[in-house]
């Protein structure tokens, strides 16, 4: 991890955008930070976002929005006072600071804090012109081409919905010592959904991708075409799908997006807050074996351009690569500043928030399993009867009991080592601290997802990434209609 100094122009430009100066920020910090507070910060955010959508072959929706606001936080022990406002001026900042510090019942004298010096983290998304700045006509044209390409895939594709959503988020964070961190974060995503209809049989296929990239990324290597083909292929494939079997069986998960298994089964349970409070199924298990020795799981916020990556987290801490599970042994938690301090650990750059209206929490960035030794073909050949799951609609976990669920969107029967009929309506359920112990093979084909993930926790959504090689999990409960 390296810290370099931000050019002063970056800070000045950002402050100008918010219409505040360093003097106002200093005054706010002074009002906020009585000596009985353990921490406190200011978080200013400006988001310019654009969303365009096509259906029935027409781009009917084009929306552009500008939202900005400030969040002021005071922390004493495990108490947090928070005030936010979408008006950013000296008076509102002071009012927010007073409201926030009330939590600490701090009667201590304010101290003078000079807002000066700047710090920054990585430079993972050096985008000169982000996708919101690309001319609207160019993006409208792309969506129209997507519609044509999807319908050309198969005559049974009856509806195509495509959307392109992009934003540029500028954040200015001022920590308790008056240090300013500025981060300008581009984010864009292209989504395609196709509906295939054959008589009364109606099926949907969805795909997409994105990241902290410029618009050109979507055109490079024909990425947009690959997304379209994938959505159309899934929709048509499912026209022939049979009902998923129900019961306990061996499951092979394909590479990439199925890494959502890690996110749900172990990721959330390794966020610092639940472990500090003792409400995670993984509480107290550091140093213990929680997975097969084949399994190493990483959370890494430093991958260039990825949807889950950040130069610094939303508390100004540079992101890191955190080993969560190493050869089956639980090694570490993901931390924000408050939980790290209370647990006597170091922040890992996982303090994230949805917006200025939200209090930071430990959150995942890009979470994935390292590649193993096995040949993916051989992994499939080794299964007598089971399910091969290659794509998922989403997942969910009960952090306290450890039970997770994820919903298959493309899956097949495995019969005598061969991948056979596609199945629909497959749901996979298991117990987080237990499921990775039943990982029987790990492929050498690690892949990260295409950049479509959004994680929800306590009402806050943040972009994330996942990844995994092909793996085999023995004895997983599969839910479906067929008995």
């Amino acid at each position: 991890m390296t810290e370099t100094s931000t050019p002063r122009t970056g800070v000045d430009a950002a402050l100008t955008r918010f219409g505040v100066d360093e003097g106002a920020l200093s005054k706010t910090l002074e009002a906020l930070l009585g000596h009985r507070l353990d921490d406190g910060d200011l978080y200013l955010e400006h988001v310019e976002a654009e969303s365009i959508a096509l259906d029935e072959g027409l781009v009917k929706k084009a929306a552009r929005s500008i939202h900005q606001g400030v969040g002021v936080r005071a922390v004493a022990g495990d108490k947090t006072g928070y005030a936010h406002s979408d008006e950013i001026d000296g008076a509102r900042l002071l009012e927010a600071a007073q409201a926030a510090r009330a939590i600490a019942q701090s009667g201590g004298p304010s101290r003078a804090i000079a807002v000066a010096g700047a710090r920054t983290g990585h430079d993972l998304y050096p985008v000169v012109a982000d996708a919101t700045e690309e001319p609207l006509e160019t993006k409208l044209d792309l969506l129209s081409r997507i519609d044509v390409a999807a319908r050309a895939y198969d005559p049974r594709i009856k509806q195509v919905q495509a959307s392109f959503v992009s934003e540029r988020k500028t954040v200015v964070m001022v920590d308790r010592d008056g240090r300013i961190t500025v981060d300008v974060r581009p984010l864009a995503r292209l989504s395609v959904a196709c509906i295939a209809v054959d008589g009364q049989n109606r099926q949907v296929g969805s795909w997409g991708g994105g990241g902290r990239h410029a618009y050109a990324w979507f055109l490079e290597d024909d990425r947009w075409q690959a997304f379209v083909t994938e959505a159309a292929r899934q929709a048509v494939l499912k026209l022939d799908a049979i009902d998923s079997p129900a019961g306990t069986m061996d499951v092979v998960l394909g590479p990439g997006w199925p890494g959502i298994l890690l996110h749900e089964a172990v990721g959330h349970g390794l966020e610092g807050d639940f472990n500090r409070k003792g409400t995670s199924a993984f509480t107290g298990l550091i140093g213990k074996e929680v997975a097969s020795p084949l399994v190493t799981v990483i959370d890494d916020g430093t991958l260039p351009g990825r949807r889950g990556s950040l130069n610094v987290d939303d508390e100004g801490t540079p992101t890191t690569r955190t080993v969560l599970i190493e050869n089956g042994v639980l090694r570490g938690y993901m931390q924000d500043r408050m939980n790290a301090r209370l647990m006597g650990m170091a922040p890992t750059g996982n303090g994230r928030r949805e917006s200025y209206a939200s209090i930071p929490m430990p959150r995942m960035t890009n979470t994935f399993m390292l590649a193993g030794q096995d040949d993916p073909e051989e992994i499939l050949k080794g299964v007598k009867r089971g399910i091969y799951a290659v794509s998922f609609g989403g997942g969910q976990v009960d952090i306290t009991s450890g039970k997770f669920t994820f919903s298959g969107s493309e899956a097949y029967l495995i019969e005598d080592g061969k991948v056979t009929a596609p199945v629909k309506g497959a749901t996979f359920i298991g117990n987080g601290p237990d499921v990775l112990k039943r990982v029987a093979a790990v492929g050498h084909d690690l892949a990260l997802d295409t950049g479509i993930g959004t994680c929800g926790k306590a009402g806050q959504s943040v972009p994330v990434g996942v990844g995994m090689p092909t793996i085999r999990v023995n004895n997983l409960t599969v839910g479906g209609v067929a008995v």
């Binding site: 919905q161 209090i359 008995v483």
Partner: protein, 456 residues
């Protein structure tokens, strides 16, 4: 630079005039202001105190039958003017769509309901954090006092707020309404040996007084009961049995119906209920009404997001699908009138949704509903993304209680249930009388004749 937030009507008038100057042929806009606060107490200590003020303006402009939308929380004249000019320019390059446009002017002559919906409580404006902390602390303490195995907690949270919504369009319509809400939650954690379980309970209301003087007691005890009953959970055997959806879960099933009959899904062929108007979906004792006029109702509103007067709509009548949920655009697409169901976020175009979307109660008590089952599953929580309203497939993870000989026998987890939505609705064979009026989308506990349960 002048800020226009102080006078909502003038702000909207400025927005509409600016759109017109920029070349828009029609426009409508919303301006929303709100204040809210919340507190959380965990294990008796205040953990979080938060307060917020929000405001924003959202505008939809038309150039002929092309349109675009925009929103901003920066209410300076300069910011609004620049954004609207940019949005009108964007509208010029979107596709022509003959179905787009404002509602017919004549529809705005229809008066808003004269029922007093009473959605705003002055008492919540001055409600202070100290009282909220005390109530949250009491709620959590009551829940944890119910059993020594309740050793931990995710805390108790109380939140409250009030907001005002102003609507105007280029037909000269200006409408406004205020609302408030307050809610109280707690999430205890039970531990027994290596096993940990959590569940929660809550209450909410438009008016502070409607929480009731026993809110802490009622929420705390119910949260404890729901959490404790999960301890000792087993995986059931894979089988096909009757399944009872407890009222909160029945309500989410009803929510999937609201999604499937939304005009925005229907006109895109993206619903298993396309072309099913007038068909029998469920037994004759199943009735669903979307009623925006329930006094103090969680989903009540006098006008929709296009400014049209709302009115009750029968959705399922005697088991027959009687109406979709439509706004102006999706109504035109389907050749039907708007059901006045338009909803919109500030930055988005309207799309139809539900208000108070309620299934009528049945005659049975919850105990009688259970009593009729020899072997079956009571579902108390679902998880996953396996409710597909495009295809009608249903496959979800569940937590619940096993039923044996008409009584609750033991808790189950790590199980799934699966069927299809058409089969589930058609095979509802009994309804309880326990619909919860605090929910915007609310159904009583209901029994489905048979689903596949997967476990061991």
């Amino acid at each position: 630079m002048s800020d226009l937030g102080a006078d909502p009507q003038a702000l909207l008038a400025y927005v509409l005039e600016t759109a017109k100057q920029a070349g828009a042929t029609a426009a409508d806009g919303l301006f929303i202001t709100g204040r809210s606060a919340s507190v959380r107490v965990r294990l008796g200590e205040t953990e979080k105190v938060s307060q917020a003020r929000d405001k924003g303006v959202g505008v939809r402009v038309f150039v002929g039958n092309r349109s675009a939308t925009t929103s901003t929380s920066d209410l300076s004249e300069a910011a609004i003017t620049a954004l609207i000019q940019r949005t009108v320019a964007a509208a010029r390059v979107t596709a022509e769509d003959p179905f787009s446009g404002l509602p017919d002017a004549a529809l705005f002559d229809e008066p808003l309901t004269d029922l007093a919906l009473d959605l705003y409580d002055d008492d919540l404006v001055g409600f202070d954090a100290e009282r909220a902390i005390a109530l949250a602390r009491e709620t959590e303490a009551i829940s944890l006092a119910q059993d020594p195995r309740l050793k931990n907690s995710e805390g108790a949270e109380m939140s409250w707020g009030h907001s005002a919504l102003h609507f105007a369009n280029s037909l000269g319509v200006y409408r406004t309404r205020r609302s408030s809400s307050v809610s109280l939650w707690t999430t205890p954690v039970a531990e027994d040996g290596d096993e940990k379980q959590r569940d929660y309970w809550w209450t909410s209301a438009r008016h502070l007084e409607d929480l009731g003087s026993d809110a802490a007691e009622a929420v705390g005890r119910e949260a404890a009961r729901r959490t404790l009953r999960r301890l000792g959970a087993k995986k059931p055997a894979t089988c096909q049995v009757p399944v009872i959806f407890e009222a909160p879960i029945a309500s989410s099933l009803l929510g999937s119906l609201a999604g499937a009959i939304s005009g925005s899904a229907l006109y895109k062929d993206a619903s298993y209920l396309c072309d099913k108007l007038g068909e029998t979906l469920a037994p004759s004792f199943v009735n669903v009404v979307d009623n925006p006029h329930i006094p103090r109702g969680p989903g009540s509103r006098t006008f929709d997001a296009e400014g049209l007067a709302t009115r009750p709509t029968r959705i399922i009548e005697g088991g027959v699908l009687a109406s979709y949920l439509l706004d102006t655009y999706t109504g035109k697409k389907l050749g039907l009138a708007s059901t006045r169901g338009a909803r919109r976020g500030l930055a988005s175009t309207p799309s139809p949704g539900a208000s108070n979307f309620w299934m009528d109660n049945g005659a049975l008590s919850f105990e009688e509903l259970i009593g009729g089952v020899k072997q079956g599953l009571l579902v108390t929580e679902t998880s996953g993304f396996g409710v597909n309203t495009v295809t009608g497939d249903y496959s979800q993870g569940v937590v619940g209680m096993w039923i044996e000989d008409g009584a609750l026998a033991y808790p189950v987890h790590e199980a799934t249930i699966a069927s299809t939505l058409p089969r589930m609705w058609a095979s509802i064979d009994a309804l309880a009388n326990d619909r919860d009026p605090r929910r915007g989308t609310s159904a009583p506990s209901l029994r489905i004749a048979q689903m596949t349960v997967a476990g061991t």
